[in-house]
């Protein structure tokens, strides 16, 4: 009996221990070094205690606020676009017309790609000289900046968001479609008997019933977009200038290009705090009443 009470904790322990080790090491490492001056290019070990200098430098030397703004813009608008486009496609699939099953099976293709592959794919399509998309856009009278859509500060971040939206709208579509199927016919019929129009039914029946699934998808995607690295790396390298830098890419640049470990460590903690706040807000307000 006593063993039985302890058994679940014994079973959980290995995974929790290995994960804690894998998380606490980097976080502890970053916390300690965030108070030290340490550049790997000049020294293999931390050089001297520098107080809060690194935290100040994050804002002075790196475009941290710009990266934060870019990241929130990308994650917010990207998630919004993917959700509603995905919802639209899910409703098309849900008409159950002939051939929709086949479309649904093919539609998952973008989501199966490694983000880095999706990035190359669109870098090719967006290539200013000879790319398919600039050619098409100019064909329909849409002005394309001469340095290309990825090379122009006004469109680079937007392009990253577009590629991510291309890759993940099918994910929303397919999961929301599964959600639509789970809404019982009786609920819908009852609403129809009450004389609800299609539009009305969507807003007051379908959407509220999809809310738990939607909340979950939105959280996952928001955070994955928030962490965007692969697409930024391949598509723009954070540029031109710093116009499409995200927080993850800013960390990468400081840590693994400039090898400024102390500064990166301070930035790591700032990012950890921001992420913790977002995740906890989400858990407290939307995700607490989990019923799966």
């Amino acid at each position: 009996m006593n063993l039985n009470r302890r058994l679940p904790y014994l079973l959980l322990a290995p995974s929790i221990i290995i994960l804690l080790a894998l998380i606490l090491y980097p976080l502890g490492f970053a916390l300690r070094n965030s108070f030290w001056f340490w550049n790997l290019q000049t020294s293999a070990v931390p050089l001297y205690h520098s107080g809060l200098d690194n935290y100040r430098m994050v804002f002075q030397v790196t475009p941290f606020t710009e990266a934060l703004k870019n990241t929130l813009l990308l994650a917010g608008l990207g998630t919004l676009a993917q959700f509603w486009l995905g919802m639209g496609v899910a409703l098309l699939l849900h008409t159950h017309l002939r051939g929709m099953g086949f479309c649904r099976a093919l539609l998952i293709m973008p989501t199966t790609l490694a983000p880095v592959v999706a990035g190359f794919l669109f870098r090719y399509l967006l290539e200013p000289k000879g790319g398919l998309l600039p050619w098409l856009l100019e064909g329909i009278g849409f002005p394309v900046p001469p340095q290309g859509i990825l090379g122009y500060a006004g469109t680079a971040l937007f392009a990253i968001g577009m590629v991510d939206t291309w890759q993940w709208t099918p994910f929303f579509a397919i999961v929301l479609y599964a959600g639509l199927l789970s809404i019982s016919e009786e609920v819908k019929e009852a609403a129809q008997v009450d004389g609800a129009s299609g539009w009305r039914m969507f807003w007051s029946i379908t959407l509220p019933l999809l809310r738990p699934i939607a909340a979950f998808l939105v959280m996952i995607r928001f955070m994955q977009l928030f962490n965007s690295f692969d697409l930024v790396f391949v598509l723009t390298g954070g540029g031109p200038g710093t116009s499409s830098r995200t927080l993850s890419f800013n960390l990468y640049r400081e840590g693994l290009v400039n090898y400024n470990i102390g500064l990166t460590a301070a930035m790591t903690w700032l990012v950890v705090i921001i992420v913790t706040v977002i995740i906890n807000l989400y858990i407290i307000f939307i995700f607490r009443k989990r019923d799966w």
């Binding site: 995974s15 994960l19 970053a30 159950h96 017309l97 599964a178 990012v271």
Partner: protein, 288 residues
């Protein structure tokens, strides 16, 4: 499966007037062109002659050549070892995560635990935390302990994603194994351990396989960890595509050839997974 019995579906589609039907098909055609078209266009690129990487206006018909695949995988074949590296890292990460995830999923599925919600939320917060935060310290740690560029460095650190994901997905499958069967085994005098191996494992086996396939795909598609923790001889295929971004010019055909090979395993696995795709992509939260 859902539309197989199709009573509701057929009725619904009869209700859709033919004019609306044309609109729906037209919209769906646009959707398919937008989402699937680019992939097909990229696959064609891998078979084009390098001098025809960009031709404006675009050519749909051309004489296909295997030259780019030869360059990348046969002679000099720089990307060939990367296929094996990808298999080693992805398989290694999957196999290592399984025992940890299976025991944790069983505990979460079968016991009334205090703080179960907290533990589940903890796993998922790891899954959606920014990996770059962990990778930079790992980079320094691995060179300190002499693991820089090794397979085990990648396999171990990928567990930060593989274990939380597998716990969530496996739990959803174990929840579906009826408790009665396990209880019957206990009545017959089986210990929890032997009931676990005789009842849970066989009945949850499809779920274990599905989970492994997803973990494999996510590890396969991961670029951040191998980009930073591998060396040239251990790097994986998706990272290999980046190497053609040389200062001497961009070799689009070879990027495409490598990318086509890199995208094949995930696509095939998703095809095989079929109706489990929704569940896997939502970590078991949506049954699909």
């Amino acid at each position: 499966m859902h539309w197989g019995g199709a009573g509701g579906g057929v009725e619904l589609s009869r209700k859709i007037r033919s004019r609306n039907r044309i609109v729906i098909y037209a919209l769906m055609a646009l959707v398919m062109i937008f989402f699937v078209g680019p992939i097909l266009w990229f696959i064609l690129l891998a078979f084009r002659h390098p001098s025809e990487a960009y031709t404006i206006p675009p050519q749909l018909f051309f004489e296909p050549t295997l030259q780019s695949f030869e360059r990348t995988f046969v002679d000099p074949g720089n990307n060939r070892p990367q296929v094996l590296n990808s298999i080693i890292v992805s398989t290694g990460a999957t196999l290592l995560s399984l025992p940890f995830a299976m025991s944790a999923a069983y505990a979460l599925s079968r016991f009334a635990l205090r703080g179960k919600d907290f533990i589940m939320n903890w796993y998922i917060s790891l899954l959606i935390a920014p990996p770059i935060v962990f990778v930079i310290p790992y980079f320094i740690l691995m060179s300190r302990i002499g693991w820089a560029g090794t397979y085990q460095a990648m396999i171990l650190t990928l567990q930060t994603l593989a274990i939380p994901f597998s716990v969530w997905l496996l739990k959803s499958f174990m929840d579906e194994v009826p408790l009665d069967l396990e209880e019957a085994a206990w009545v017959d005098g089986a210990t929890r351990l032997s009931a676990f191996f005789r009842i849970i494992i066989p009945l949850a086996l499809p779920g274990i396989i599905v989970t492994s396939m997803f973990t494999f795909v996510f590890s396969w598609n991961n670029v951040l960890f191998p980009l930073i923790l591998s060396k040239q001889s251990t790097t994986t295929l998706p990272v290999g595509t980046i190497s053609f971004f040389a200062s001497t010019g961009v070799y689009w055909n070879q990027i495409a050839a490598t990318a086509v090979v890199a995208m094949l395993p995930p696509m095939l696995i998703f095809l095989v997974l079929g109706r489990y795709v929704v569940r896997g992509l939502t970590f078991g939260a949506v049954k699909g």
